[in-house]
């Protein structure tokens, strides 16, 4: 039990240090009124998985990956997704952190429901965040080669959809 108490203390510090940051990340996916609840869910997940965090890793990157995956998984629920569209009439990434090419954002909004989470996460980090292959690989936890393959597939989809030129091409 001692280790569990220690973990809760660790997560308490984690929350104190990063809650505002995670809240800002969640706002990319959810409206402000709902974001705080999602932040709490992310930290519950962090508590459950703190054993998997490695001392030599970046806690910010770990939380960023967990937040992105949690938001995407949450949105993947069909009922929740339909509700989101009905309520807000828009997809995620309403507040891109970087001035992403609007065609790119539009493309991802159109296609994210058809893609698996890994493609969406890689598309988000690459096309919206503007990260390099290596940085996306580090955040997502795969190889740069896998990132390259997924981006190529996204580009193929864009071409097949006769999508307007933009960063995604």
């Amino acid at each position: 039990m001692a280790s569990r108490r220690a973990q809760s203390t660790d997560v308490g510090k984690l929350y104190a240090d990063h809650a505002a940051r995670v809240f800002r990340w969640v706002l990319r996916f959810y409206p402000r009124a709902e974001a705080e609840e999602v932040v709490h869910e992310v930290f519950v997940k962090a508590l459950e998985r703190i054993d998997s965090f490695r001392a030599d890793a970046s806690v910010t990157t770990w939380l960023y990956r967990m937040t992105t995956n949690h938001c995407l998984n949450r949105l993947r629920n069909e009922h929740r997704r339909a509700e989101l569209w009905r309520e807000h009439a828009q997809a995620p990434w309403t507040t891109p952190a970087a001035p992403a090419d609007q065609d790119t954002v539009t493309f991802l909004r159109q296609f994210w429901r058809q893609l698996d989470d890994e493609h969406v996460a890689i598309g988000l980090h690459y096309f919206v965040d503007g990260m390099s292959h290596a940085e996306v690989a580090r955040v997502v936890g795969c190889s740069p080669r896998t990132v390259g393959n997924r981006i190529a597939k996204l580009r193929d989809l864009a071409l097949a959809a006769d999508h307007p030129t933009g960063a995604i091409q």
Partner: protein
């Protein structure tokens, strides 16, 4: 490799493809996770880039104060859950307030990072290091992976499927240890890991075994004969230590193993490949 290549490599992850700092870089800068040269590069860029300076200022100005959840639900013994104590509300408010009043980067931030004597500043969320004001969660055992040459294999390393590896387990105290390999193909890795959709191919490398305190290291040889993947896949090597005898989940889920409160686990994840010669 030239000095320019070194500098480019060092800063490769800091900047987005449009030449500005990524949001994650700004966040890591704020937290203090960047090395001294990386901090210097960030500060130098911010001083000459109004866009990134504005982003950093906006990031700080928009920081909100969030009340922590009253209780956090945590998985405990198999099949049940338990409520543990409240998180530190005061610390949250203080930290959020600090975010609001923080100024633009000052030179002493870099000096403090330099004093850490490391390329990367240490994260406070370590399971092995003690730091003031936080509890310590020390693993009850050592777990490491080596090539046949004796070279250590680090977490996240790229290793071909046909590379023979040796796993070393050494408990600090008497207890029970098990080691499991769980791998995912690239297609499976795309599946949902939270919604139960992920599919792991698991292999028990070391069944639950009683070991004496400070015994070992106990060596396990890991070879995947004939297991040649067509693309990169992820293999998780999970070692579990419990003070009391336990049963491994069937199937074992490395995402959320059912472990008792007296258990700790250590995971080493490898990026496996089979169609490229191992270097």
């Amino acid at each position: 490799m030239t000095m320019h290549d070194n500098v480019t490599s060092l800063h490769a992850g800091l900047f987005s493809r449009d030449g500005h700092l990524t949001m994650l870089t700004l966040d890591r800068f704020e937290v203090g996770e960047l090395s001294t040269p990386q901090c210097e590069a960030v500060i130098e860029h911010i001083e000459s880039c109004s866009l990134c300076a504005d982003r950093l200022a906006t990031m700080r100005a928009d920081a909100v104060t969030l009340e922590p959840p009253t209780h956090v639900r945590v998985r405990s013994a198999p099949g049940r859950a338990q409520w543990v104590g409240a998180l530190a509300i005061g610390a949250t408010v203080a930290a959020a307030a600090a975010l609001l009043v923080m100024a633009l980067p000052q030179p002493q931030q870099v000096e403090r990072a330099a004093e850490a004597e490391g390329v990367l500043t240490a994260s406070p969320y370590t399971t092995t290091d003690e730091f003031e004001g936080a509890a310590v969660v020390a693993p009850a055992f050592d777990f490491s992976v080596e090539r046949s040459s004796g070279a250590a294999v680090e977490h996240g390393a790229r290793v071909s499927w046909d590379t023979a590896l040796t796993l070393h387990v050494s408990p600090h105290e008497a207890g029970y240890v098990a080691v499991v390999s769980a791998s995912q193909s690239p297609d499976d890795m795309a599946a949902d890991t939270d919604g139960g959709g992920a599919r792991f191919e698991t292999q028990v490398l070391m069944p639950v075994t009683q070991l004496e305190a400070r015994s070992g290291p106990h060596a396990l040889t890991l070879a995947h004969d004939g297991h040649i993947g067509l693309d990169v896949a992820e293999e998780r090597l999970v070692a579990v230590f419990c003070q009391d005898a336990f049963n491994l989940d069937d199937p074992f889920d490395p995402e959320l193993p059912e472990l008792g409160p007296d258990c700790t686990s250590v995971e080493v994840t490898l990026n496996r490949f089979g169609d490229v010669a191992d270097s």
